[in-house]
Symmetry: C2
Subunit: 216 residues, 2 copies
Amino acid sequence: MIDVAILGLLDDDELHGYELRKRLGELLGSRLAVSYGSLYPALNRLEAAGHVKAVTGLPARAPASPMSGSLAGELAAYRARRRATTDQGGRRSGGRGKKVYGVTDGGRRRLHELLVDPDVSDDRAFAVRVAFCHHLSRSERIELFERRRAELAQRLDQRRRTANPSGRVGPYLRSLLERDTEALAADVAWLDRLLAAERADPHPDSAVGHDPGGHT
Amino acid sequence: MIDVAILGLLDDDELHGYELRKRLGELLGSRLAVSYGSLYPALNRLEAAGHVKAVTGLPARAPASPMSGSLAGELAAYRARRRATTDQGGRRSGGRGKKVYGVTDGGRRRLHELLVDPDVSDDRAFAVRVAFCHHLSRSERIELFERRRAELAQRLDQRRRTANPSGRVGPYLRSLLERDTEALAADVAWLDRLLAAERADPHPDSAVGHDPGGHT
DNA sequence: GAGCGATGTATCGAGTCGATATGTCGTAGG
DNA sequence: CCTACGACATATCGACTCGATACATCGCTC
């Protein structure tokens, strides 16, 4: 799950951990933003696997969000990094290092691999995969969406089968189950919309490559 | 989360771990059913805290599900338990013990305490609490639902504020966020329905006590 | 120049998951 | 008969995640 998010974000921009987490919060809603206790170990894992590497340079693009005066902060961080990079002895040395990560070719391959993974049972993981599914070809996207749709449909009629064997459920539990079924149905409808859009859009070819920009 | 589910289920029926897990699966959909790696440590925790106790007797009611021939199994398990209960030396002794748990008075107090907890940010935990909120008084239920509603409303307009600063989100991410917003709105509407039903129902008194049964 | 809040990296304890081990029981099949 | 298999049942392991926290620096204000 978190691997997809990291690789996907790093493919757009070279980032450090803190910024990575902020973007994930904006992307998916702050509730399912990963914690540092997941993020940093995950970065170390990915670095050890060769999927990302620390570039230790300035990020490719400045955040460019006008509501925070972080431009001066960026410069200061740069100065601080220049001072701090020599310190790398003890683990608890701390200090600023602002390790900026970038994705490698292996990481891009890994991202694609994770995106086409047949397992679509994890809800959060699927959401993240949709967020970055522009890395897939059209047919791969359709594959992904249809597999997910099948998963949800399966949950639905499993729900209907185990619904109320003796009718003995309290009103609150009943209401809860109904709401859940509605949410499930809405999700299926959403996937159907996505699939319809996918098949209607007249672009049978370029999918994984960057769109060169058709206007302005 | 899991504590509420265990205490709530055990308050209806005395059960052992395996059956507990099955019921949780039926109750909340098999996807968010807890694993044994969570269930058994949780049972031990609750037993150590004095909230549940092993009764080591036959379960109060047989499963009574006609589709599985578990009646013979029940008898056999009884015989097996009689043979196995003496063995309690080694940790890895294994075998059948079929430890049947029941909830204590302290456990019931704990359940109530967990149900009125002001923290409603955990989605799964809230669902479980709704499933067992018949243990609450009407005013406590309204409190619970309204707090949850406020939480969701806060998420909604936080979403709307951070929506699209520069409009630069891909179509898939946009669709994902829209779907999420819709789900959030549907959840708020569901809570409003629950609240309306709560206030319309003409039963201002009996809520926490057991209904003695008005029919048959 | 001290305090404070944002930035930033990193770890800890607790809890959860999925897989697996271990063992019993009933039944099907050779 | 016995052997394999699957349901029942308890329990643990390793990997992972979370929330909290520690630690350190920067820029700002007073």
